[in-house]
Amino acid sequence: MENRPLEYDYTVAKWFMLTTVVLGIVGMLVGVILAWQMAFPAVNLMAGEGLAEYTNFSRLRPLHTDSVIFGFTLSGIWATWYYVGQRVLKVSMAESKFLMFLAKLHFFIYLLVVVAVVGSLLLGISTGKEYADFEWPIDIAVVVVWVIWGMSIFGLIGIRREKSLYISIWYYIATFLGIAMLYLFNNMEIPTYFASGGIGAWYHSVSMYSGTNDALVQWWYGHNAVAFGFTVPIVAMIYYFLPKESGQAVYSYKLSLLAFWGLMFVYLWAGGHHLIYSTVPDWMQTMGSVFSVVLILPSWGSAINMLLTMKGEWQQVASSPLIKFMILASTFYMFSTLEGPIQAIKSVNALAHFTDWIVGHVHDGVLGWVAFMIMAALFHMAPRVFKREIYSKSLMNTQFWIQTLGVVLYFTSMWIAGITQGMMWRAHDEFGNLAYSFIDTVTVLHPYYTIRAVGGTLYLVGMFLFAYNMYKTMTSSRRVEESELQNASPMGA
């Protein structure tokens, strides 16, 4: 009995894999529509004048950001949690009826929240804070989902066989705690319906903080939602999936310690770099700048640790598209965490802030690092949860190159667009007057917006290839034995 290998239960992991793929496509499709709208404003009317309210750029934009952050990425985080958690803690979900129930509840309440979010954003019901757009009833549901996930994490940890927590678990715990703290404080709001004795819309609320304070709390949240949504859990994934897939041990334990605790301490300070030259106190802006630069250290610590894990095994990058995805993800992580600090330096920020360069930075991070890593994780999980080989290796390779080209077109065009616009805003003529009217700085961007839209479209095409490959893997790929599932994932031609 004791010698029999554990049978892990991947039911909930599979469900979240499904929402990762579906919400990824939805979020990125909306993103592509937005990109084409910026290049060709007529696209705002794609569904006719009657529906223009719901298809125009401004109404769709939060739907894009929230569906890729809270749809695609969160689903990916949970899909991997319900897979990785069991395996590194050496305990099966099937061993606890209670934890299984919690996990299923987690999924279904999450689905309800997704539906509520899509509906309310399309109707324009919003608190007005970026990535914290949800009104109070949805916020409460989000908190419930989060608490359930927390119970699931600590419940599974509570019944674990492996006493020592693997690095990935550190990062999952940090994700849970970080987002919990940030989300709660940033979404402090008072429902006006109740405070006014039953007047107006029941779902409307007003922020507890005003003006500069609100901005401070919002960007403490906004920046660190990136930290604990786009960095910490993704690092959790790469620490598990890269060593697993490559069969290599993590290069350095000490480096992972330094990178983890460094990241925990430094990241939160960096939020101030969103507020440089704003009305928050100068010393906070400088703190934001300085800590953003320091942040290179722990970020690169993890990334280098992952690259060195491949030491002596670099031929795998050429032979396995799955390793390719992860290595490129890690490389984009390094790239993006160098670019961010550069933009956080005050003089650079003066140029870059409010321009498309920031948009470019976000996307080389999320498309190149976050999404690549999540897709790699799902590819690695697929043969293990479906007991079938990955349907097509060549399709994976095709997807990899199409999407890489998409990301490159995206960030290069946005760099040029951002720096061009920033320079034009500040340009003066020989008499000291502004050289350009604002509209000049918009029309000049048309070619770059078009290139960006092409890049985004390529990435979306890659998403469809990914979805197709996953679907075929799930339904009709060759069945594999447990013995084939050691390290490198089995793939069909």
Binding site: S58, F154, L177, G178, I199, T212
Partner: protein
């Protein structure tokens, strides 16, 4: 120590929490009470302006327009005096935005008129050739939510002591008072009076008829809000 923590999940979680909470305590708390005190001339929003602000949020205008003028010559030349913290004292939420696809709107009330906004919202490219801003024609049809704006006024007055019905010092030495209506009906009547002034400067016959019939379309509310940004 780290090895020990890795075997004790509870203490591990506590250690993480303390580490991440540190920055917030030091960066956010010290200035919290001082920041967001109004400067001379900063008034709370009227019911109609606040309803307009809700239209602004509903349509995510801050997705493309900032309301934050940085202290650079190029920005003060283009948009007016740089922003002061106290000017935002009654902004819940703040609407600084993070991207300038379109120009800053912090002081748009100083250099754009009701007439300009009306034409621009209907067809931006007709007013500004080359503009990539979409048209907002539904604002001419949808009714503004005055009830909710009034509920928010009551809330901020009650909870945050936002000074309605209070004399507020203006920059020119005079005093101004922003009234808070006693009932919803009074608030609606006051908003309608404000709306009539805006509608008088507009050309759209449907909007004029609606206001004459006692309704307030979203476009009137958002123009009232934009005109108040100075």
């Amino acid at each position: 120590m780290f090895h020990w923590l890795e075997k004790h999940p509870f203490f591990f979680a506590v250690a993480i929490f303390v580490t991440i909470a540190f920055a917030g305590l030091i960066e956010i708390l010290p200035n919290f009470a001082q920041a967001s005190q109004p400067v001379v001339g900063t008034k709370p929003y009227t019911t109609l302006e606040l309803a307009g602000r809700h239209v602004y949020i509903k349509n995510n205008c801050m997705g493309c327009h900032s309301q934050l003028i940085r202290p650079f010559k190029s920005e003060t030349d283009r948009y007016g005096h740089y922003s002061l913290s106290g000017e935002y004292a009654y902004d819940r939420p703040f609407l600084w935005g993070s991207k300038r696809t379109g120009p800053d709107l912090m002081r748009v009330g100083n250099y754009r008129t009701t007439d300009w906004h009306e034409n621009h919202m209907k067809d931006p490219a007709a007013v500004v050739p080359g503009s990539i801003m979409p048209a907002y024609r539904w604002m001419f049809k949808n009714a503004a939510d005055i009830d909710t704006a009034y509920a928010e006024q009551i809330t901020v007055n009650k909870v945050f002591k936002t000074p309605y019905n209070t004399e507020i010092p203006m920059a020119d030495g005079t005093k101004a008072t922003v009234p808070l209506a006693a009932t919803v009906d009074e608030a609606k009547a006051a908003a309608l009076e404000e709306a009539k002034v805006i509608a008088a400067d507009m050309k759209d016959q449907d909007v004029k008829d609606a206001v004459a019939a006692g309704q307030i379309p979203e476009i009137v509310a958002i123009i009232a809000y934009l005109n108040s940004l100075k």
